[in-house]
């Protein structure tokens, strides 16, 4: 196991290096450097000043020297300054944007995996009955829908017509005019508290599974969950800072609903179909027949015996989901003007802000790599049949 992890880490580092190099050269080829775009057309700036700017940014050096300098700086964690928002350091921008993307991402993934798995279970169980065709076609239509168009329709329907949800953006500037805290502080507080609460709830459920008897087991699990949720809500209602932050936190959460809803609707069908396939394969196994023969109720056979086995391939599909959700995230963030990494990526590439583009690209790459690795590990833990060996 340790050897496998070490091998994977080395491979990952190598892959990342290749990725970074490819990105760098690709972006180096971007036509028209930003300095020229910004200064060359401005008659008030003498050529001398432009030359100095190029020199200061190191853009006058030969390509390979620039590449070497960038690599050295990158691995000493110096990502440089954004050309477009000069003199703001790139790392500053990413620090602000990355949590926003991760939150959107995680919330959406959790919601749509849950919804897709639940729907897929029913679909497999109801095979050949009425409604199967409608659910499948409806699900596939959502899954293959032209996403930017669908997002705009959602925006039009919920924000413009029904006026239930806000028209995109991260927060409502009117409400934040006199806010005592910067938006990012509130947002990070929300992020960490939700994460801690989820981990605690997960831990309680894990502990509760060790209890043998059914009644105390359920009691512990439920009481623990309720206690964690009460503590979470208590912080926002009673806590000294929490009570002040609450309306602002609520505003951010309110802006999160529509993007997450759209991402969920578009992505859940993929998981649903995968679960269905996986369930259909599982339902042919002998142990399902045995479970039925024992006289267990249908929902028990479905949820406890079939669904748990069928969960495995669905988990692996998380690997592919990482890239898909990042792609979906780019469109989501563009359409809903959610200021995250995807939005940074598109704007930095189209504006020629090369340091920011490379850095955001490499962060997305790291996210995908780490996600891929974690899912592989998770799969090994979940399925004892798969031996994680050195040649794996």
């Amino acid at each position: 196991m340790t050897r496998y992890v070490a091998r994977r880490l080395v491979q990952m580092a190598f892959l990342f290096l290749v990725f970074l190099t490819a990105t760098w050269f690709l972006l180096y080829a971007l036509p028209g450097d930003i300095v020229a775009q910004k200064y060359a057309t401005n008659p008030n700036i003498p050529p001398e000043a432009r030359r100095l700017a190029m020199e200061r940014l190191g853009l006058d050096k030969p390509m390979l020297v620039q590449f070497r300098d960038y690599m050295v700086n990158f691995f000493t964690l110096d990502f440089g300054y954004s050309f477009n928002q000069y003199p703001r350091p790139v790392v500053d921008i990413i620090k602000e944007r990355l949590p926003r993307t991760i939150v959107l991402f995680l919330t959406a993934v959790i919601t749509y995996y849950w919804a897709g798995f639940a729907a897929g279970k029913y679909l497999a169980w109801r095979r050949g009955k009425r409604g199967e065709m409608a659910i499948t076609v409806g699900g596939v239509a959502l899954y293959t829908v032209f996403y930017p168009w669908f997002a705009l329709i959602m925006l039009w329907l919920f924000a413009s017509q029904l006026k239930l949800l806000p028209l995109g953006k991260f927060l409502d500037p009117d409400k934040w005019r006199n806010a005592p805290y910067p938006a990012n502080d509130v947002f990070l507080r929300m992020f960490w508290l939700t994460l801690i609460t989820s981990v605690v709830v997960f831990g309680i459920h894990l502990l509760a599974r060790r209890i043998k008897d059914r009644t105390p087991r359920r009691l512990v699990a439920w009481a623990g969950t309720v206690a964690a949720v009460v503590a979470f809500l208590g912080y926002w209602w009673v806590g000294r800072e929490g009570a002040v932050m609450r309306p602002y936190a609520a505003d951010i959460a309110y802006h999160l609903i529509l993007p997450v809803l759209t991402l969920t609707l578009v992505n859940f069908a993929g998981i649903m179909l995968l679960t269905r396939t996986s369930m259909l394969e599982t339902m042919r196994e002998d142990f399902i027949l045995t479970a039925r023969a024992k006289g267990l109720p249908e929902h028990m056979v479905r949820d406890r015996h079939a669904a748990r086995t069928a969960l495995l391939p669905v988990t692996t599909s998380l690997v592919l989901a990482v890239a898909t959700v990042i792609d979906g995230g780019i469109i989501t963030e563009t359409v809903f003007s959610w200021p995250g990494m995807g939005e940074v990526l598109v704007s930095s590439v189209t504006l020629g802000d090369i340091p920011l583009a490379i850095a955001s690209f490499s962060f997305i790459g790291v996210m995908a790599l780490v996600g891929h690795f974690l899912v592989d590990l998770l799969y090994g833990i979940l399925d004892p049949r798969i031996r994680v060996t050195a040649h794996g």
């Binding site: 892959l15 293959t144 168009w149 890239a323 792609d327 780019i330 995908a368």
Partner: protein, 381 residues
């Protein structure tokens, strides 16, 4: 989509079973007495095709998908017929340069202060509007051509903000989508079949190289890469098709086809071919690749779905240099602010968006139905 490593031995057993082993061997023997080897192959191929077709046709969802594809295929052919028969005049109906010369007009009274926006128009705006002769005075009635115009008998889906026929654009868009999807799918499958077979057959360093490459390509969000490439190069439709084909051919599809080829590699007939003195190239070309083919065709369908959507998204973001496409129609409508106006301009909002969705869905559904043919574990019986 499905767990391919497990499906593999079924697949092999099934190809034989589907040909109807006994019957077809008998038939082949009969044929051998009077026909060449190719004729026998042709008979076997036709038999398996007929059988698989019957299995596919049982699947309602697959039939539904095929119906949609047929519908769009008809749409894609129609402009050629219309232009050739003279039913459509290219000057009016060309998807890019066409212009409706006599659009419906709306009458407005020129006033200084608008009280009823439906029948009145602001005097200061009239002076700025180059569609109106600028010698009008308040109180005059002016006629303003209505563009985008709603559907009528001449323009079945109305016209867009530039006065071009939406139906014609939709049909030409279907043609572009088919061209792009097919090209991308063929490139993907050719690359993935060769890479998968070769890396499964030889293993070792070749395998490691291609699989790490596939990991890299899976890891990279394709859309982000396409956005970067689109910002750098003048991107045309076939460029995009080839790039999508390469990304997906060396990426996820190669992994799936490799696991299929691995299962084929350990079959006795591969050993037999080797003992009989077959070269590596011969074994790969005539034994491994034909047995990977069914799965390749399946993945072609999913590639078409992905390609159509990538094209639409990139055109929508304005990063593609294409003549007409569904994504471009939506980009124009969105840039001119017609999309968020909702149902009032439904002929700008729905045709292109629904077309992208439907065609992508159709290929996906056909792929799913083929999956049930190729993978016997999913069958009802």
């Amino acid at each position: 989509m499905t767990d391919t490593s497990e499906r593999t031995d079924q697949l092999e057993g099934q190809t034989l079973a589907e040909i109807g082993a006994d019957e077809s061997i008998e038939l082949a023997e009969q044929a051998q007495r009077r026909q060449s080897l190719w004729a026998i192959r042709w008979i076997l191929f036709r038999r398996s095709l007929r059988h698989n077709w019957a299995l596919f046709w049982e699947n309602r969802i697959g039939r539904f998908g095929l119906g949609i594809i047929a519908f769009f295929a008809v749409l894609a052919v129609m402009p050629t017929i219309f232009f050739a028969t003279g039913y459509w005049n290219p000057a009016i109906y060309d998807p890019v340069t066409g212009l409706e010369p006599n659009p419906p007009v709306q009458r407005f009274t020129v006033v200084n202060e608008i009280t009823d926006p439906a029948t009145q128009i602001d005097f200061t705006r009239v002076l700025l509007d180059n569609r109106i002769p600028n010698d009008v005075l308040p109180g005059d009635v002016v006629e303003i051509p209505l563009q985008p115009a709603p559907p009528d008998s001449r323009h079945w889906l109305g016209t867009d903000p530039l006065g071009r026929d939406v139906m014609s654009q939709l049909m030409h868009g279907a043609r572009a989508a088919f061209f792009l999807g097919m090209l991308a799918a063929v490139v993907t499958v050719v690359i993935a079949t060769i890479v998968g077979s070769v890396s499964a057959y030889f293993g070792g360093a070749i395998d490691a190289f291609f699989m790490r490459l596939a990991d890299l390509l899976i890891m990279i969000p394709a859309l982000a890469v396409l956005i970067v490439i689109g910002a750098i190069f003048e991107f045309q439709l076939w460029h995009l098709a080839v790039v999508i084909g390469i990304l997906s051919g060396f990426g996820g599809t190669a992994i799936v086809l490799k696991s299929q080829a691995l299962a084929v590699k350990v079959k006795p007939y591969i050993d037999a071919a080797r003992v009989a003195g077959g070269s590596n190239t011969h074994i790969i070309v005539s034994h491994v690749i034909p047995n990977v083919m069914p799965l390749s065709f399946l993945y072609m369908m999913f590639t078409v779905t992905g390609a159509i959507q990538s094209e639409a998204t990139l055109s929508f973001l304005g990063l593609l240099n294409v003549r007409t496409s569904w994504g471009l129609m939506l980009q124009l409508a969105n840039n001119q602010g017609y999309l968020l106006q909702g149902l009032q301009y439904w002929w700008l909002l729905f045709p292109a968006g629904v077309a992208v969705t439907l065609l992508a869905m159709a290929f996906f559904l056909v792929g799913r139905a083929m999956d049930e043919v190729v993978n016997p574990r999913l069958r009802k019986r």
